[in-house]
Symmetry: C2
């Protein structure tokens, strides 16, 4: 049986020269030490993933390692912050190398890709639970806050929506999908791509942003309520994932609007920044789609391709609702 | 049933003027934003507490709220860092107001005492698990690192040791304690006092520090291995808690040396800083006791009151050992 210290040293400790210049002290002391760049703000986000709630029991450990950091990096992206470092707190039923090795590989591969150093955390025995807290830096005044949308702003979506929700529907047998479709859609659910480069590229160009984790309608709703605005959304303009776009219209509308686990960015930007938005998206190598506009009137108006109102009831995910 | 958003707003959101000047943005966005003071380093620590492992099932929620923040503040103290803010990730079987109200009261009372703002986190449904990540600031070069002990340093202990372990022995029926003793010792286990003021007061005076969570022998061992030194410890000089000091010598030695959950500081300081250490302790209103010295020779030597070697086998807590 691995001890706690063996476990940390074998699976989670990297050479200190890999930590990046902002990290003054990594794993192994009472605290990690970070030296933020002068004049920068520190952006902080924390996500907890629980077995049976956020992922199936027995889920592939490598994918899980990727995903639990991805959802945190996605929060930095939605703030326009550049990743610096993260802590990992892990509750495990047992210190099993067959789980730990792929988990740490999946986790650290994504961390390396974003130069985001693992600087500390905690390990304990208990029901499987993964809690990551991520740190990034951003220029004060240029962060993409939820309360910054203004009437007249365009609403944009990065990438595509709904394939992760389609996969969940397949796994749950809500609908029948062929294996190839389920595999491709499942990849979006298991290995989301945090839009980190897009987030930083939009800093100073976009007004408000949020990452779409609980479904677009609900997540956009947070921007609207905090900004004191409403919005009109062209539902048929929403970019459906490649697998979802092959499904019937009703399902496509429902899952683009209310599917969770997309980890795309929904952001608002003034209409005269359209070119700048497209340039930023090109620089970040992510497609973006204009899907509506922010209005002064409260409420979310769902419109079809002809601008006529649609009677849809989008549901958002509530972690304490009965599953 | 409370929704996730109701729960956060009802129990965990404070007026923004309470957040302190370092917090630029608190709960409610994709990230919180902190503006560290110019020239300061950020100290970061994360602890995860699991029901049945770190606390008994059905543990008093108010005490638990206190303790889960206290153990994190204790890590800041051991680094000599001043608390700024923390995030809370919470997995709960249900959103039960009868648990949430006392939990948040206990948590936020200690947070207020240390001007440490709750700036974000996560809530989800699942087995009870509390993960706090805490942020503090410290002057670069003046932090109390585990690798900074030098041969000739005195070893000091704040407060007293072993009463928390005595309470655990009582709860587990390892020994029989009368109710009054168990209550008093239990208070140390349930409501540890993080030595935050002492930690910051020792900054620039002490060399190395660690907080005693898994037992003095094991925790001091981390200082020794990272500093490349050994130590001699006068076991009978170790300050036993008021309840433990009434117990037989063998138990007193065992629990001061290897009891966990004390959350006192063990620190080293040059012999010519003795007066400065005592002044710092007086300023922080915490007694400190000199209990040994750092040696160039590796290993931990346990000595009795006459300086003769003691044959004791101190055990340290390993979270993956069989309980």
């Amino acid at each position: 049986m691995l001890s706690e210290f063996d476990l940390i040293s074998r699976y989670f400790t990297r050479p200190s020269h890999n930590l990046g210049s902002a990290v003054a002290l990594g794993i192994g002391d009472d605290c990690a030490l970070i030296t933020p760049s002068p004049g920068m703000q520190l952006a902080i986000s924390s996500d907890m993933l629980v077995e049976g709630r956020h992922f199936f029991a027995g889920a592939d450990a490598g994918r899980l390692g990727h995903k639990c950091l991805a959802v945190n990096l996605s929060d930095l992206a939605a703030m326009g912050a550049r990743p610096l470092a993260f802590t990992l707190a892990l509750s495990l039923p047992s210190a099993d190398p067959a789980w730990l090795a792929p988990f740490s590989s999946g986790l650290l591969a994504l961390a390396d890709q974003h130069h985001c150093a693992l600087i500390g955390g905690d390990t304990t025995k208990g029901p499987l639970n993964i809690c990551i807290t991520v740190f990034g830096e951003a220029l004060p005044g240029l962060t993409l806050r939820r309360d910054a949308a203004l009437p007249g702003d365009d609403i944009w979506i990065s990438g595509t929506l709904g394939d992760a929700r389609l996969a969940l529907a397949g796994y749950r047998n809500e609908i029948v999908l062929d294996d190839a479709t389920l595999d491709k859609a499942g990849e979006r659910m298991h290995r989301p791509t945090p839009r980190v480069e897009l987030g930083t590229a939009l800093s100073g160009i976009a007004h408000a942003a949020i990452d779409i984790s609980d479904g677009l309608a609900g997540d956009l709703g947070h921007i609207l309520s905090r900004s004191g605005t409403g919005a009109s959304l062209m539902v048929d303009a929403l970019p459906a994932g490649p697998m979802l776009s092959l499904q019937p219209d009703a399902l496509r509308r429902r899952f683009t609007l209310s599917g969770g686990d997309d980890y795309e960015l929904c952001f608002t930007a003034p209409a005269d920044h359209r070119d700048a938005v497209l340039t930023a998206a090109q620089r970040a190598n992510v497609p973006v789609t204009r899907v509506g506009s922010i209005d002064a009137d409260a409420g979310l108006r769902l419109l079809d391709a002809n601008g006529a109102p649609l009677a849809l009831q989008p549901a958002s995910f509530d972690h304490f609702a009965t599953p």
